[in-house]
Symmetry: C2
Subunit: 227 residues, 2 copies
Amino acid sequence: MSFSITDPSPRLTVDIVIFCLRKGELQTLLVKRGIEPFRDCWALPGGFVLYNESPDAAAQRELAEEAGIMHVYLEQLYTFGAPERDPRGHVVTVAYYALIPSADIYLQAGSDAIDAAWHNVQAPPPLAFDHAHILQYAVQRLRYKLEYTAAGFHLLPDEFTLSELQTAYEIVLNEKLDKRNFRRKLAESGVLVSTDRYRGGSEGRPALLYRYREDADPEVKARRLFP
Amino acid sequence: MSFSITDPSPRLTVDIVIFCLRKGELQTLLVKRGIEPFRDCWALPGGFVLYNESPDAAAQRELAEEAGIMHVYLEQLYTFGAPERDPRGHVVTVAYYALIPSADIYLQAGSDAIDAAWHNVQAPPPLAFDHAHILQYAVQRLRYKLEYTAAGFHLLPDEFTLSELQTAYEIVLNEKLDKRNFRRKLAESGVLVSTDRYRGGSEGRPALLYRYREDADPEVKARRLFP
DNA sequence: ACAAAAGTGTTGAGAGTACACCCATGC
DNA sequence: GCATGGGTGTACTCTCAACACTTTTGT
């Protein structure tokens, strides 16, 4: 898959930073490239945008193809297009980030990836192209997103406890939060609804399970919702 | 300038929402298209991204070519790429917005524009493609930007009075601000520095001129800096 | 002296922050 | 009964928002 240096227009790809909470860390799915350039180097999952396919659709397709992931939170991040970012020629990429609940993980080695694995976003391996920069940018955006809105649910299963949600925020923001203040803010925002079920099984008192209110305003425009 | 429907990859353009304060309104520069489709329809200035040209560079080039504007505040907005947005075929566009001081205006009819004019962003004429949507999105982003950061200077000349700056914010945010609160916030943010010059000429007491501190942190990340 | 715009502090309300104990369950 | 995590309320601080008068200039 190469193309001429005399192409009249840059080619277009999507790259996706897939965030997931695993082992108490914020991790991202990386694929090991099976082709040049950067063979055997880790990279963000992604691929070319097909003709008559929107970048959003391309991102969703790559999510499904490379990781078997469907129906997750997906948001456009930024478009990176420096001519020298791909040694094969000028390739502009629309970067996305996705939030997936810890349960939805099905690793699949796709066509041009020989391996796929989760990596801590704090200490990723060397990455192909400008993907290290994209990853760093995505982490920053995710933090902003959680500071200003109530979108952390998407990193958890449908039903979750408030402690699990708080832990999710603490991992992403990399800072300890106050339990009572966290719960008050959350209650005031009105984006959660409690179920009548409890999570037992572990030690201690069982915790009430909550779920996201589908009819809630997704953009809770409070000032810094969770510091 | 047409291309085959069998092109393997979407084509790439940039479109720019150029904001300027004129006649007490927030206005944007629109060009009247001289070619099909949407001949004689107003559109955002923009054009194709050349091979080995970054979208940022393409946006700067279009700013220079279509409006003679250089060295202004320019920020990427979002990438729009629905296959049906251009009847000629699949064209993905990276949208930008620019803030220009009222002085820097040199209208130039470019190659495929037969006319160019400023229009109030609140009541634009019918626009080609999805440009009405892009414009609306840009206005929203500009408002967020001014609410959370101190970037309103870029709509004013190098030296300006605090009243002029407040008026700029009031026009963009479409809401009246309190003079003392506005000035206090501004002083606390530390992004301005006073000159020793005054603006006289008009009626009333002359106003001290300020300028933007080049060494200031451009992203004043306060909570809602200017409500 | 008066019209017109510039400039300047204080107070009350609300949000943010810090903080400690009782509760329900499993072993 | 004890260890473990779940769940709850209050006091203080600080930021935000509302508000009116004096100053400087031109006519």
